[in-house]
């Protein structure tokens, strides 16, 4: 395989990882100061910071590989909606605590197995970031799993709320493991991850936790796709408007 392929595939992977962690990190950061109690507020904020920190590493790597002089900030803040490659799951607006937890749990279950595979990537920079992120994500999954079980197997009220959250999110799960030409190339080159294997392992985790939580979740027959290709939900524009407003109002400002 030639160098151009490696470059393209690594850029695509780093951008996808960066966009998913950036947008979910931003969604969680919206809850800073709005968590149900101080302890959970700060827990979510910690996770948000972890994800944004990971996004910085991924986008920095993407910028370096691209070689077009774009920094992590340029990539994070100066693209338009159709240029973001994240899955639709991470851009969905926050609803109640159960919904936030369910969305987080689905993402964490996939995120962890993706990082496990990426830590063996033939691209050293990719493996390095994955190894660094993996410890954080192990805790994220522990945190969200605990809450899924606590609320699912809690009162009738909390159980119904959790079930309804998973029902709403069900069509957004599959997109996390949809591959395309470039991600297949990344896998062939040993840079990326195996989508089928991730899907299988993520579902093992989800099934185990949901069984304990007395909740039902099955893969959706019809599901959302297209985030990777820049087809986002209508919510994406609002996130970007908020995320980018300062940077666009004061270009190149430093503080």
């Amino acid at each position: 395989m030639n160098k151009v392929d490696t470059q393209k595939a690594t850029f695509d992977l780093a951008l996808w990882m960066g966009d998913n962690t950036l947008i979910l990190g931003h969604r969680l950061s919206e809850l800073c100061g709005h968590g149900p109690i101080l302890e959970q507020d700060i827990a979510l904020t910690n996770i948000a910071l972890d994800l944004v920190g990971q996004a910085r590493m991924w986008l920095n790597l993407a910028g370096e590989i691209e070689g077009a002089n774009r920094s992590e900030d340029d990539l994070a803040f100066l693209r338009t909606g159709k240029d973001y490659t994240n899955t639709k799951l991470v851009e969905l607006p926050n609803q109640d605590w159960g919904y936030v937890i369910a969305r987080q749990f689905i993402f964490d279950a996939h995120h962890l197995v993706i990082l496990e595979q990426l830590s063996a990537s033939t691209e050293k920079a990719v493996a390095d970031i994955a190894k660094k992120a993996i410890k954080e994500v192990q805790y994220h999954l522990r945190f969200s799993s605990e809450w899924v079980i606590r609320l699912g197997d809690g009162t009738d009220f909390s159980h119904d709320r959790m079930q309804s959250a998973f029902d709403k999110l069900q069509p957004y799960i599959k997109e996390l493991t949809l591959d395309d030409e470039l991600s297949k190339l990344a896998k062939t080159l040993g840079i990326g991850f195996d989508h089928n294997l991730v899907e299988q392992k993520a579902w093992e985790t989800m099934r185990e936790v949901l069984a304990e939580a007395t909740l039902n979740l099955e893969p959706a027959e019809y599901y959302h796709k297209g985030g990777k290709q820049g087809q986002h939900t209508e919510h994406m524009g609002f996130i970007l408007a908020e995320m980018q407003s300062v940077v666009r109002a004061m270009p190149n400002n430093k503080w």
Binding site: I37, L38, E39, Q40, I42, A43, N46
Partner: protein
């Protein structure tokens, strides 16, 4: 209905060899959640490597109104302090 979660006291060991030290309190529904909350609230800046939690209601405290009889008698017994010895360097921190 009382909606408040139980209060827990949090103890953190900052490094091996030192003892756990009380750092504060927090709310949680059970011990496991208390550990996680403590991790998120009290170890964000690398404050520790081990956490203990105990429900505040399980802590028995001395009575502040009895502090005179409890603590004052120790005041003038300087011979209880090992200050008359030179501590060898090998002993390190005491």
């Amino acid at each position: 209905m009382d909606n408040t979660w139980p209060l827990w006291e949090v103890f953190i060991r900052s490094k091996n060899g030192l003892s756990h030290k009380h750092v504060g309190s927090l709310h949680a529904t059970d011990a496991e959640m208390a550990i996680e909350n403590a991790r998120d609230v009290y170890t964000r800046r690398q404050e520790g490597i081990s956490i203990w939690v105990v429900e505040s209601k399980d802590v028995t405290a001395s009575n502040p109104t009895q502090s005179e009889e409890l603590y004052d008698p120790a005041k003038n017994k300087i011979y209880r302090h090992p200050t008359f010895y030179d501590i060898p360097d090998e002993v390190g921190h005491m």
